[in-house]
């Protein structure tokens, strides 16, 4: 019991609750002082939620070191494992080791994906017949919206988990450049998730994850909590990206030149460039709606007050929101998929026992996708009433993205070509990822072409398309990564049988789900709607999607069972179960507290699998005899 209350997580939540209450009290006091009616739910909720999240960060202890610095006290650079506490408590308390933080991110990410998935199970059941069965239109909308945003949060956390755990190991850094910032970045996602989930309880909201005004300007109270939650998750992304970029720029092992970095590091850099910059714009756009609701600042409100008319003030414009929002949210899809594509490129050579085809092209294609991704946002607005002359340029830039993406595909196929392929679970998921991402990739260009998109926009075709990109670009590679690195993290092997079962349940179901979604979209099924016309004749397809969705959900449960069970009962893992050349596989499993005893030395190319006598790194380098170039 005492250990329980000394856990940072518990202290954080308790203090979040207390400070939220205080924040609401302050709001009431201020309103009274200003001569307004004492209670109004929305300001109280916003102030309470905002302060409460800060309260969480105090309570959990993520600010402790910084507060000491402010008082002029010194703290050690690295804290090491906690003394006189059981080891498992580290995961529930602020810890500065990047491997712990990586696991924290990953597990929280999986938990969020589980929550969002359960919501999908509920509203998917509702859709299996026309008419309203057991949900009201409002609950349907809230569940659908929460499903979307919680999934996105889960993906962002999963991405951060993989990058945090792997990148320092891969480049031979002892930790991230800013360990405290790293811990802050993880912990701020916890109050954020709590806010979003509580938004479902306090009023819900009906805008989908995109939160477009004018609808979001009138949605129930829940939308404010959703905005704030997204705001804090965005903060986490920004800080994590910053940390990662500095780590890669400054902490590579000797000899680790840019073009000798593992390909996943390149993908992480590209991802981080997007997350660092673009995220500010979703935060800004949501903040603008938040203050429009709270203070009447009409950024997106086309109506004018008489005083504003007298002043000659122009009205607000809801289209501005869509520009700001998509300036982030299109690049954001590359935040979701680039690390996943990096994992595909990382794992393929290991299981094909062949060099990665066109290493430099792959590295550069990640950067190109990231950069071109900034220039395509208005393809979400072809039907929004945007200026007509913008349509064609954005159509062309969108189609341009297919080029670097195509480079990746060709490299994967060429890497597989004549390889000695072995089909362990991680490799199965990599192949599944490629097949699913192909579906997502091929259904993209029709959406980017104006003439076709005018028909496809806001139909279930789009739902089919983006689920295929996210499953192919994130979910499948993420699962591949989990299986692949599980032995490194835990020191145990998972059950191959269950892993294969997971794969064979999930992959065909996903093909069915996505393709049928696309089909009924073409037949007239609209997106984000609780009901449909029986005359469309799509009920059989709706049932098929629902069944496929349930099988996917069940397969993920199989994975979770496998991971939990094997943590105790799995076979003890050897240091390098997959015969990988990557640095982290050259040290014991599980990886020791400080990873490498001393920095390793990079002497060769990373992916020369199957080449006689090639070496990538030497783990105990003879520093004195190191070649000069390596310095």
């Amino acid at each position: 019991m005492k250990t329980f209350f000394s856990l940072g997580l518990i202290r954080g939540i308790v203090s979040q609750l207390i400070v939220t209450a205080i924040g609401m009290g302050i709001t009431v006091a201020v309103r009274v002082a200003m001569g307004l009616p004492a209670w109004k739910a929305e300001p109280a909720a916003v102030v309470g939620a905002l302060l409460g999240a800060i309260g969480f960060m105090f309570g959990v202890g993520a600010l402790t070191d910084w507060l000491k610095w402010m008082k002029g006290e010194e703290t050690p650079m690295r804290h090491g494992p906690p003394k006189d506490k059981p080891a498992w408590t580290r995961y529930f308390t602020v810890d500065y080791n990047h491997k712990i933080i990586g696991v924290q991110y990953t597990v929280t990410g999986i938990a969020l994906i589980g929550i969002a998935g359960s919501l999908a199970m509920i509203f998917r059941l509702e859709l299996s017949a026309p008419g309203l069965q057991f949900l009201t239109a409002d609950t349907y909308n809230t569940f659908m919206s929460a499903h979307g945003i919680v999934m996105i949060g889960g993906i962002l956390l999963g991405v951060a988990g993989a990058m945090n755990y792997l990148v320092p190991l891969m480049i031979g850094a002892s930790d991230m450049a800013f360990p405290r910032l790293n811990a802050f970045g993880f912990w701020v996602t916890v109050p954020a998730a709590l806010l979003i989930v509580s938004g479902m309880v306090f009023g819900g909201w009906d805008t989908g994850w995109t939160g477009y005004p004018p609808l979001s300007a009138r949605a129930p109270l829940g939308i404010q909590l959703f905005f704030l939650g997204v705001y804090f998750i965005g903060l986490s992304s920004i800080l994590g990206a910053l940390n990662l970029l500095v780590t890669v720029a400054r902490m590579r092992a000797p000899g680790m030149t840019l073009f000798r970095m593992p390909i996943f590091v390149w993908a992480s850099v590209a991802t981080s460039l997007i997350a660092l910059t673009a995220t500010q714009l979703i935060a800004l756009s949501f903040l603008m709606v938040l203050v429009q609701r709270l203070l009447g600042m009409g950024f997106f409100d086309p109506n004018l007050t008489p005083e504003a008319v007298a002043m000659g003030a122009p009205p607000g414009n809801p289209l501005l929101f869509q520009h700001l929002f998509w300036f982030y949210s299109h690049p954001a899809v590359y935040v979701f998929i680039l690390p996943g594509l990096g994992i595909i490129s990382e794992l393929l050579p290991v299981f094909a026992r062949k060099p990665l085809f066109g290493y430099k092209w792959i590295a550069m294609s990640s950067l190109t996708i990231a950069l071109v991704g900034f220039l395509v946002w208005a393809h979400h607005m072809f039907t929004a009433g945007m200026e007509e002359y913008l349509r064609l340029p954005f159509s062309y830039t969108t189609l341009l993205v297919a080029v670097p993406t195509g480079v990746k595909f060709f490299s994967w196929v060429a890497t597989l070509w004549k390889g000695r392929i072995s089909l362990e679970t991680p490799m199965l998921f990599v192949l599944g990822a490629i097949s699913v991402f192909l579906i997502g990739g091929l259904t993209g260009p029709p959406n980017g072409t104006v003439t076709t998109d005018l028909q496809l926009h806001d139909t279930y075709w789009i739902v089919g398309h983006f689920h295929a990109t996210m499953f192919g670009g994130f979910v499948f590679p993420f699962f591949a990564a989990i299986y692949y690195w599980y032995p490194k993290v835990t020191g145990r092997m998972f059950s191959e049988t269950l892993g294969k079962l997971h794969f064979w349940l999930m992959t065909p179901s996903f093909w069915v789900m996505s393709l049928v979604q696309q089909q009924i979209g073409l037949m007239g099924m609209r997106r984000r709607i609780a009901d449909y016309d029986p005359a469309l004749g799509i009920q059989a397809q709706q049932v098929a999607i629902t069944i496929a969705g349930y099988i996917i959900f069940a397969s993920v449960l199989v994975m979770i069972y496998n991971l939990v069970y094997s943590y105790r009962h799995g076979k003890i893992a050897v240091a390098n179960p997959w015969n990988s050349r990557s640095p982290e596989f050259q040290i014991p499993s599980p990886i020791p507290e400080h990873s490498y005893e001393q920095p390793f030395l990079v002497t060769g190319e990373p992916y020369d699998y199957g080449l006689e006598g090639s070496v990538y790194i030497s783990i105990k380098p003879d520093i004195a005899n190191a070649p000069v170039a390596a310095k």
Binding site: G72, E73, V246, M288, F299, T305, G312
Partner: protein, 191 residues
């Protein structure tokens, strides 16, 4: 806040990383401020609200002066001149407060209200976001001031001062773009 116990060599390595981190954060924030500027041009076009241009000029000069004194403070500590360091820091803070008074105490009491269409929204959005940054800078200055008084900084180790100074200049830098966008660009319409 040279607050980590390390050798001088380690300190210097970390110092450069810190600088990169801070500048990347600036880059990130630049997108947010850029988004606000974009909103200004998207919604206001080539018009501007009826603001007092003299007031705008005065607060701009005040902020510029504060940046100048901040630079003196940093230069002083880089040469181990503690007395000038503390003095210039105080002047910076006073000017910073004066700027806030100018914006919040005068501009925000003027003709344009937050609810006045796109004028109100963007004006209060831009000045409010900027004022929040000024406020954070003032808090930062206060922390550095008290740590300086305890003798925490030296010519070799004063990342805390440097970060505070660069942060403050960044806030000024943002205003370099916000000031003309709010007060100078475009024409006032008289309906």
């Amino acid at each position: 806040m040279s607050a980590i116990t390390t050798s001088l060599a380690e300190y210097r390595h970390q110092l450069k990383s810190n600088r990169w981190g801070l500048w990347l954060f600036f880059l990130s924030e630049a997108f947010m401020f850029g988004g606000l500027l974009t909103s200004r041009f998207y919604l206001w076009g080539d018009t501007r609200p009826p603001l007092d241009q003299n007031l705008g000029f005065i607060v701009t000069v005040v902020l510029l002066l504060s940046s100048f004194f901040m630079n003196r403070a940093e230069t002083a500590i880089a040469h181990d001149d503690r007395k000038n360091f503390q003095l210039n820091l105080i002047i910076t803070a006073v000017l910073g407060i004066a700027f806030l008074v100018g914006v919040v105490g005068f501009e925000w009491q003027g003709e344009v209200r937050p609810t006045d269409g796109a004028y109100g929204a963007v004006l209060y959005g831009m000045t409010g976001m900027h004022a929040l940054h000024v406020l954070s800078g003032l808090i930062f200055i206060m922390i550095v001031f008290f740590n300086g008084r305890k003798g925490h900084y030296s010519a070799e180790r004063h990342w805390g001062v440097e970060a505070c100074a660069v942060w403050w200049h960044y806030v000024d830098l943002v205003w370099v773009f916000f000031y003309p966008a709010l007060y100078l660009m475009g024409t006032v319409i008289h309906p």
